[in-house]
Symmetry: C2
Subunit: 454 residues, 2 copies
């Protein structure tokens, strides 16, 4: 059994709905379909979810929201008319939106979640109706009915463990089940949306719950590239990569999946197959717990900026039992997660995402480090980027580090920091943010042969 998730661009229009239906009907194992809200139909288009957010704020601000409401309804109406579905569905969409607005208009959090979630919810109903029209048994399954219980944090739902048991019973249902992505229900009965990457999270949770054989994730690329295609022409395409590799790449700017989205399938070791709605016969990219070694020690390269480093120095620091713990405790009380802590002998750096150092936190943290740890010096270095070289084959490949440092050296890029853990699935280089793109390019060319243009 396969759980198949379609992203926003895959369900943006009637034409896309037809592709989705063809894909699902081509494989009897595709039993559960998770859909996003209608995304962009063309480059300048607006995503339905963005319209819905605008609608919510318009309501909250007491403005006349009629136009925005019409624009949203029109997105669905277009699909309904072109697919020749019952016109009543358009009225249903409108009635449902109005009802959500009236119910929650005085509660910002609830209204936002209810309207954002409606994008996926109405689209799922349309999709089920379309399958029915095509002669397939199909059912819209609301997250409430499916038992997708989540924490009651608006916009930041976390799945509750019992949800997986509830979802398992979907296996017993007949027909093509269509589940809206992006939200669940709290125990209090509230609609609560997931954080970024919401529909991917739903698909992953459902796949884990029903213990699917594969979680197919349909989007608009035929495979995952080894490097950001904006930086390199005709980049290498990955046939497969491991969860861990995906995670390390996602950490530093690889935006295929939000890094928490895959957690449910990772735990159950369910393979993820990233495929293209517009080219469904292409094999796509598999993400699994283990992969065949293809002889390439490195599978991908990514980078992300927005890091800073708190650098501190104290003679004989490493003799002080408790020094590192105390330092991390200072960050913890300010609720700042740290990324890495490279250290010399008498110096230690803590790398963090620099958006954490706002509202006087920087001054407060530096003061505490000075007084509580008695350091000789401490300062913050901003404008850092982390470049990740990732691959399960690195552990046993002697020359990987040499190749990487040579490439950066030849590109004239100073390495501010190197961090290679004992796991050796990745090597991380801290560079100045202004050098990050060039660093990625030079590393890519060091590890990958050119791919001929198609």
């Amino acid at each position: 059994m396969k759980v198949v998730k379609f992203g926003g661009s895959s369900v943006a229009s009637a034409a896309q709905f037809k592709k989705v239906a063809a894909i699902v009907r081509a494989d009897d194992e595709r039993r559960i379909v998770v859909v996003s809200a209608p995304g962009k139909r063309y480059k300048e288009d607006t995503k339905t979810t963005d319209l819905l957010i605008a609608l919510a704020y318009s309501v909250l601000n007491g403005n006349n929201y009629g136009d925005l409401l019409s624009q949203v309804v029109e997105r669905y109406a277009d699909i309904v008319r072109e697919l020749e579905l019952p016109e009543s569905l358009i009225q249903d969409v409108k009635a449902s939106l109005e009802e959500r607005i009236q119910t929650h208009r005085s509660n910002e959090d609830r209204l936002l979640d209810a309207l954002k979630a409606s994008g996926e919810n109405e689209n799922a109903k349309l999709m089920a109706a379309y399958f029915t029209k095509l002669g397939e048994e199909s059912h819209y399954v609301s997250p409430k009915e499916a038992g997708m219980v989540v924490t009651n944090e608006p916009g930041n739902a976390r799945i509750l463990p019992e949800a997986y048991d509830n979802l398992k019973s979907l296996r017993e249902r007949t027909g093509i089940l269509v589940v809206p992505g992006f939200f669940g229900y709290s125990k209090e009965g509230n609609i609560v949306t997931f954080p970024r990457g919401g529909s991917d999270i739903t698909g992953s949770i459902v796949a884990a719950g029903v213990e699917a054989d594969v979680y197919e994730n349909f989007t608009d690329v035929s495979s995952i590239y080894s490097v950001n295609p904006n930086l390199v022409e005709h980049p290498h395409e990955m046939e497969e990569l491991t969860y861990q590799e995906m995670r390390e790449l996602a950490y530093a700017g690889f935006s295929v999946f939000h890094d928490e989205a895959l957690q449910p399938v990772v735990e159950k070791k369910i393979p993820v197959n990233v495929k293209n709605t517009n080219d469904p016969t292409a094999p796509g990219t598999f993400i699994r717990s283990e992969r065949e070694q293809n002889g390439l020690p490195v599978i991908g390269i990514s980078s992300d900026s927005g890091f800073c480093s708190i650098n501190l120095k104290k003679y004989l620091m490493n003799r002080e039992v408790g020094f590192g713990r105390h330092l991390l405790e200072i960050l913890e009380t300010e609720e700042i997660p740290f990324e890495h802590t490279p250290s010399g002998i008498d110096n230690m750096s803590v790398i963090i995402r620099d958006h954490h150092l706002y509202n006087g936190k920087e001054t407060r943290i530096l003061d505490r480090i000075r007084t509580e740890l008695g350091v000789e010096s401490v300062h913050v270095e901003r404008g850092l980027a982390m470049v990740m070289v990732v691959g399960e084959g690195m552990a046993n490949s002697v020359g990987v580090a040499a190749k990487a440092t040579n490439a950066l050296h030849e590109a004239g890029i100073n390495i501010k920091m190197i961090n290679q853990g004992s796991s050796e699935v990745s090597m991380m280089f801290g560079v100045e943010a202004k050098n990050a793109d060039r660093a990625v390019q030079s590393l890519y060319h060091a590890y990958f042969a050119p791919v001929p243009a198609k």
Copy 2:
């Protein structure tokens, strides 16, 4: 004013005493002399301190210790006779040792400290007597008289802050002052010895206390080599290096100074000049707070084995505020200082000295990490060595990492870990201990041109 310290081999015999006297008399600034106990006169010789330790255990075990006592006295008697000092000095040595034995024979800690300290103490008296015989005004100054107050931890004395003020008054004294190294007095009046590198510590404390212009440390090499001379023929000699460089090299097996020995002079920024008693006109090596850049980004390479790595893995680890702190806290409650904490995205390693994992600590720590941190996996990897590439010039040298990783690659050595902090005074490579010597050799040859044989 200079404080001049002579190591054990420099004061091992009458012939060496003569060299010391010539050195001190050659420079009026050499006003305070710190001496060790008589060291080895030839390769198979026994250090006086080792004889004294054997003597102490012989006393404690109730054995007949007459022979050992005679052997110790004979070391001093040799010097006294050959330098034609008053024979009464020999009797004084013997009486002093007997008195210490009788006073402390039932207290292991006190007896050990009292006898170990006597090695330096008696030698200092002889040295002062020799200067006097040569017509110089000279005074033996006991650490008690000098106000060298320390903590009352047998064998592990730490200097107390007021000692520096007390020592400052030595500036007012006339003549050549001879101070025994290796011990101080607790406030209770006990003799307490310093840990390893004891006479170096005394010299450093005295230099800091009197605010000397230079702390001259005489030993048996004309300069500090950039690499262990057992691994490389005719290694490069350093003219100068910084405290920080010395410290980083000392961390990984560079045994010139025990790393805590220099702390007092580092704080006062007093330069240290390592010189050779047997070749006193050679300029030796200066250790200072800053140095001229000589164009070499790397100044030295060292390695040390006996490390292990606790490797752990947990999905989305870096999202858990408090994870790293909790991990270090587990080590802290077991009183284990950690060395480094390289990390990937979902994995983290803690490098520690592996002698800490004894007596069931390993099982206890791994159990706690499993249960308290809920990690997916944790294991200990033993047999690691740390190889340090050190140099203040590294910060601005783009190619240092490339050169190092190339050299290791060409030598076929797998890099288990790379740790380069933002301070960039050093780069550290974790390798299997069996590869450590070859790693040092290959790195040395990558950075240093051959030195012609003398």
